[in-house]
């Protein structure tokens, strides 16, 4: 599916050609690789590139929203050995499907962003770690890399400069935890993708023990556009502290699920309208605004929020990866949480006891509540488990598993209580998932 809507598009501005517009010649015709050329031939200093990114207040699009310019400035400058740039295209956070389309419709914007990153941080090699389940996109990215090599944008002495850079794609094989940056590095090294203790952070001890910077696909794709328009202009497209535009993957009960690019700070109501409104005209019940790890927000509250890091955080959730999961009144909060809890239980890498055991406990308790076997003290039990996971694990998957549980109980406690008391669901079985449209066709 191509882009379904945008306001002031940057990263998706080249998507109009769909599967026919991704090649190097198309990207170049759109002004692609001009910023790489400018940086190299006009000898823009690495510090200036980083200063532009700092001014743009581009925040990492992978989930944590960390300022990219600042992250790049952490890389040691006069390091004698190898340094690496790594792109995180492992996109496995349920609800997120923007990086897939970015690599499918405009892979060269990601490549150009990664080359400029290599230049700015003095790295000679980069890897793009691509989600296992999207083989066709991995193949396309490999083809795009071949094109870039043939055109002299990769390799030795790029565009006649003294800068040399190699870039390769690495295909994942199905492990959500490899989206966590140090799990990803372990995986790139040919091991199980089990996250590392931090510190040391990747900027000092990363891939093969060398300084490494990891960014999300969308973060890299934004870089050429930022250099083109200037840091401040980019910042001004969004709102203070939330620079630029962002891709939102809208899924669930809307008429037009898909990717949308909008300036940060755009009202959620506008995004919902762009996505064609609620499917079948049903009532909005709740929204998970930033991927499955983000706490749920009730519909009426969501309708008053804007889509940016600060507004969503203030409402008690997070913008995360920009995956907006929209649910109508036919969805049972307990059942929704049950499915998410199962996911985290399945995907815990098992290194830390609180996460390995805690995700299992949480899933089993929510599962029994959903199946009419909940016990009176189950909600207390759940509420006591979450703080024992949060902040007590090697990586943030533990938090990611606990946050949905606290979020759903906070806003939908009465539904959980109803299940426990009445041994059944508030939403009648035949109404549940009515919006799924599997049997009825997409318009219902």
């Amino acid at each position: 599916m191509a882009l379904l809507g945008a306001i002031n598009p940057l990263m998706t501005s080249g998507w109009a050609g769909g599967d026919a517009g991704w090649r190097l010649k198309d990207y170049v015709a759109r002004g692609g690789y001009e910023m790489l050329r400018k940086v190299l031939t006009e000898k823009v200093s690495p510090d200036d590139v980083i200063a532009t990114l700092k001014a743009s207040v581009l925040r990492g699009r992978g989930g944590a929203g960390f300022p990219t310019g600042l992250k790049w400035s952490f890389m040691p400058k006069n390091f004698p050995g190898d340094k690496y740039v790594v792109c995180n295209s492992d996109e496995g956070e349920p609800g997120t499907f923007k990086d897939r389309d970015l690599m499918r419709f405009d892979p060269h914007s990601v490549i150009e962003g990664m080359i400029i990153a290599g230049y700015a941080m003095g790295a000679a090699r980069g890897y793009n770690y691509i989600h296992g389940e999207i083989f066709d996109v991995y193949q396309r990215f490999e083809e795009a890399l071949d094109e870039a090599r043939a055109a002299g944008f990769l390799g030795s002495n790029i565009l006649g400069s003294s800068f040399s850079y190699e870039l390769f794609a690495h295909h994942g094989y199905g492990a959500y935890i490899c989206g966590e940056e140090t799990g990803l590095l372990e995986s790139l090294e040919g091991k199980k993708g089990q996250p590392r203790f931090k510190p040391p952070f990747p900027a000092s001890y990363g891939l093969y023990g060398k300084p490494t910077t990891i960014n999300n696909t969308e973060t890299f794709a934004a870089v050429p556009f930022i250099l083109r328009m200037g840091g401040e202009a980019y910042l001004n497209m969004g709102k203070p502290n939330n620079g630029g535009t962002k891709l939102f993957s809208v899924s669930g009960h809307v008429n037009k699920p898909g990717n949308y690019e909008i300036p940060l700070g755009t009202p959620f109501a506008k995004l919902l309208e762009m996505a064609g409104g609620m499917r079948g005209g049903r009532k909005l019940k709740m929204v998970i605004p930033g991927g499955s790890s983000a706490p749920v927000i009730p519909g009426e509250m969501m309708m008053d929020l804007t889509m940016d890091y600060d507004a969503i955080a203030k409402a008690g959730s997070m913008l995360g990866s920009g995956a907006v999961i929209v649910m109508d009144e036919t969805v049972c909060a307990v059942k929704a949480l049950e499915r998410l809890s199962y996911f985290y239980f399945e995907e815990s890498c098992g290194q830390c006891t609180p996460c390995r055991e805690g995700t299992g406990w949480m899933y089993r308790i929510v599962h029994r509540i959903e199946n009419g076997e909940g016990r009176p003290d189950d909600l207390e039990l759940l509420t006591s488990i979450t703080p024992n996971i949060m902040g007590r694990t090697i990586c943030a998957l533990g938090d990611a598993a606990a946050m949905p549980v606290s979020g759903f109980i906070k806003h939908y406690r009465s539904e959980f209580e109803y299940h426990i008391e009445n041994k059944r669901c508030l939403v009648p079985r035949d109404v549940q998932w009515a919006g799924s449209t599997f049997y009825t066709g997409p318009s219902c």
Partner: protein
């Protein structure tokens, strides 16, 4: 033993990494080996280990950590249906039920004729196209209505 053509493909992967980091190609090597053999038995794992200069147990650890490797025989077609929440909202869970009924198997089972193995998927990164299914780890099928599923199963001879 792996075929010449598989080894060639593995060589191409090894070349992506610094000379001292051959092990980085293990994921790709296992995927290539699985494509050739259908699944990863002990001998195949040993063969990959030998080729990359790794301990067999280290290769086995990798093979067992990632979901898309099969350490047991699977049918000619492995169908992975995503049932995670974003997909379920748009028919993913119903699609899985439909396939189960149609093939007469549950998740992680293979049909008696050895044609199909059914797997439950966790977010394939394509939730906007729900219901989605993956065939043999490679082919992504989008918007799988009952009719589309019937057609796919018909095609997979």
């Amino acid at each position: 033993m792996l075929s010449e053509s598989s080894l060639k493909k593995i060589d191409r992967e090894v070349a992506k990494y610094p000379a001292a980091q051959k092990q980085s190609a293990v994921m790709a090597a296992l995927a290539i080996a699985q494509d050739e053999k259908g699944w990863l038995d002990k001998d195949t794992i040993a063969c990959v280990a030998d080729y990359l200069g790794m301990a067999p147990v280290a290769v086995y650890e990798v093979a067992s950590f990632y979901n898309m490797y099969d350490l047991e025989p699977v049918g000619k077609y492995k169908l992975t249906v995503c049932t995670n929440l974003p997909c379920a909202l748009s028919g993913g869970a119903h699609a899985a039920e439909y396939v189960k009924e149609k093939l007469g198997v549950d998740f992680n089972q293979t049909t008696a004729d050895g044609r199909f193995t059914l797997k439950e998927g966790e977010c394939l990164g394509a939730c906007g196209d729900a219901p989605v299914m993956l065939v043999n780890n490679k082919r992504m099928c989008s918007f799988m209505t009952p009719m589309q599923i019937d057609k796919l199963i018909e095609e997979c001879k």
